[in-house]
């Protein structure tokens, strides 16, 4: 069990490529932290700095108040699960899991007990004699997890551990990892580029872009209150709609159409110094767009006529693709709505749940 602290951490490669910039994060004991972001955002590099596989160019990293910058990986009491499993191909499952314990000179009986306990947790009991090549992808990933848990480390580090699995297995393993964390309560840092994984697994999400933290928060928090356009667009699928328009009195104007801004939002805009004529970005989630008559009747000043470019029925929802003033919009509506490609419909905007962003800084206008 451990607390981690990253204090103004930087990673600079070859003297001029900044991979991670001013990274500050306190990870509480038993937390499940997920680093998420697009490729090259620095999430894996940060994880590798925590593991000790990469040096820290500047700043400090602590585990339980002990500075770890110059401590070798084996002395950090961490375990890591890799994307490609990194199982030792010439060793069977037992030896793969026991390797770290053997190096640490654990007594044979203790090693056997720990490996058997871990294999029971992960359902690997019958596979202990098998070599990795004789295992399926899911079983290999379980062995990789087993190798991590036998040592009972302070921290688990997981670098995109589910990326190599097919979609169905990924969902299954995701819930297994969550259950494992609930059972063991070991502080975990998990890296992924999949926002669904981040949303479903994390106690807190760290969203990164170009080596810089964009937002840290609980899944619901980052989904509901994205700090900037990037976070709003990255978290959620389909992603948040962004419409650039103008503030005119209490209206948000997009081309010919106007949407009435609720009082609270308008006050926030005014308080932040946005006056009539100012250009702003409206961010609204697809599920906050409505086609139900009840909504349209309740909010008659926050609706727009649109022509449906594409209607996709996924089963549980109907995804509508349309445009307003040449700006793309995706809406998720009730699958029982009879809307088809080419239809003209009225779409209501639930602006109470929408956010406004500054077009220059792309930061959310909070007021």
């Amino acid at each position: 069990m451990a607390e981690l602290k990253l204090d103004h951490v930087y990673k600079i490669f070859d003297g001029d490529v900044t991979a991670v910039s001013d990274f500050n994060l306190n990870i509480e004991d038993e937390e499940f932290i997920v680093f998420v972001g697009p490729s090259g955002c620095g999430k894996s590099t940060t994880l590798r700095m925590i593991a000790g596989l990469e040096g820290i160019s500047d700043g400090d990293f602590y585990i339980d108040d002990k500075r770890m910058n110059d401590v070798s990986p084996k002395d950090r009491d961490i375990a890591m699960v890799f994307q490609n499993y990194a199982l030792y191909p010439h060793m069977n499952v037992f030896d793969n899991m026991a390797f770290g314990l053997k190096l640490r000179k654990f007594p044979k009986e203790d090693i056997k007990k720990r490996v058997e306990e871990a294999s029971d947790i992960l359902g690997l009991r019958d596979l202990l004699d098998r070599k990795p090549k004789a295992l399926s992808g899911g079983q290999r990933q379980r062995v990789a997890l087993g190798r991590a848990i036998v040592r009972n480390p302070k921290v688990f580090l997981m670098d995109e551990p589910l990326s190599n699995l097919d979609a169905k297995l990924r969902v299954q393993m995701r819930s297994e990892i969550i259950k494992l964390h609930q059972q063991l309560k070991t502080t975990t840092v998990y890296v992924t580029h999949d926002q669904t994984e981040a949303m479903t697994m994390a106690s807190r999400i760290v969203i990164m872009k170009d080596g810089v933290i964009q937002q840290i928060g609980a899944p619901r928090e980052v989904y509901t209150y994205p700090e900037n356009v990037f976070v709003g667009g990255f978290i959620g699928s389909p992603s948040m709609n962004f419409l650039t328009g103008q503030l005119e009195n209490d209206l948000f104007k997009i081309g010919e159409r106007s949407l009435k801004i609720p009082e609270g939002k308008l006050k926030a805009l005014r308080d932040s110094g946005y006056e009539s004529g100012a250009e702003i970005i409206l961010g609204i989630r697809p599920e906050d767009l409505h086609d139900e008559q009840v909504f349209l009747d309740t909010m008659p000043e926050a609706k727009a006529d649109v022509s449906i470019d594409l209607a996709e029925l996924t089963g549980s929802e109907l995804v509508l693709y349309t445009k307003i003033a040449e700006q793309n919009i995706v809406a998720i509506v009730n699958p029982r709505s009879n809307i088809y490609q080419g239809d003209q419909i009225e779409l209501g905007f639930d602006l109470n749940k929408a956010h406004f962003f500054d077009p220059a800084t792309e930061q959310r206008i909070k007021g």
């Binding site: 593991a51 000790g52 596989l53 990986p73 084996k74 961490i78 375990a79 890591m80 890799f82 994307q83 490609n84 990194a86 199982l87 030792y88 191909p89 010439h90 390797f99 770290g100 190096l103 640490r104 990795p132 090549k133 190798r147």
Partner: protein
């Protein structure tokens, strides 16, 4: 389909024919080693009228076989072990530490393959002589030098196929650099180690020129003693062939085991 079968049939016949050509010297050597000199000249292709084991006893004695076998085995095994250990370590280090220096070092090792032994033969022996190293140990050292270029090249190539995450996983598991190499990487290089061993065994076991320049008569290897043997018994083919048969037995035993190792080595190395 019929044409295809016909084609295979001819390929099979050709294969059998080639195999017979390859095997014929062995047949002649083994069969004639059990004949008297007179029987050999009367019917060189036929089976011996009665097996003469005395040839082997005589050849074994004249060849000082046990001593020569020990010398050959000691020199070959020591050289191979050293080549495999040092070359695999060097290949690992050069592949994992990517820098201009490691690139240059690899180039130097690879370039060394191009230098023929005969070109450095005299200077090498005189250089070793100045260090009192013209003995078995000096010879093993020379073989290490000559053998490691190709071996490092092969190990370096194989290393590129071994994911660096295995090193990282071992590091996280608590392994030192050497432990990572020894417990994780070296076993995965087994197919290359077997290849390196086979390539070098043939060359070192059969080498005549270098040992003849370096070794004293007490340290003589099998090929050197075979040379003296041929000199003495040029006309006594019965003894010479028995000696030759004795000389190849160890290498056949080696290949018998190596073949099993190659197969298990290749399958063990399969990742994913």
């Amino acid at each position: 389909m019929k044409q295809q079968n016909g084609k295979n049939y001819w390929v099979e016949i050709l294969g059998i024919f080639l195999a017979l050509i390859w095997l014929s010297p062995f047949y002649l050597m083994v069969v004639n080693s059990f004949k008297t000199n007179r029987d050999i000249f009367e019917d060189v292709l036929g089976l011996p009228p009665e097996a003469v084991f005395a040839n082997y006893v005589q050849a074994f004695h004249d060849l000082d076989f046990l001593n020569a076998l020990w010398n050959s085995t000691f020199i070959t095994v020591s050289s191979i072990v050293l080549i495999i250990i040092f070359s695999s370590m060097a290949g690992y280090a050069l592949a994992r530490n990517k820098s201009k220096l490691s690139g240059a070092l690899l180039l130097i090792f690879v370039s060394a393959m191009l230098i023929p032994f005969q070109a450095v033969m005299i200077t090498l022996t005189s250089f070793f002589s100045s260090f009192q190293m013209l003995n078995q140990y000096g010879l093993i050292f020379m073989y290490l030098g000559f053998g490691c270029s190709l071996a490092i090249f092969l190990y370096h190539g194989a290393m590129t196929g071994i994911s660096i995450t295995l090193d990282e996983a071992a590091t996280i598991d608590g392994a030192s650099r050497f432990q990572t190499f020894w417990y994780i990487i070296f076993p995965l290089l087994k197919p290359i180690s077997v290849t390196v061993a086979i390539l070098n065994v043939i060359w070192i076991w059969n080498d005549y020129l270098l040992p003849s320049l370096v070794l004293s008569s007490e340290e003589a290897t099998i090929p050197i003693n075979m040379y003296y043997f041929f000199g003495e018994y040029t006309r006594q083919w019965d003894l010479a062939l028995a000696g030759l048969t004795l000389a190849i037995i160890p290498i056949i035993i080696f290949y018998f085991f190596a073949q099993k190792q190659i197969i298990s080595g290749v399958t063990d190395g399969a990742v994913k």
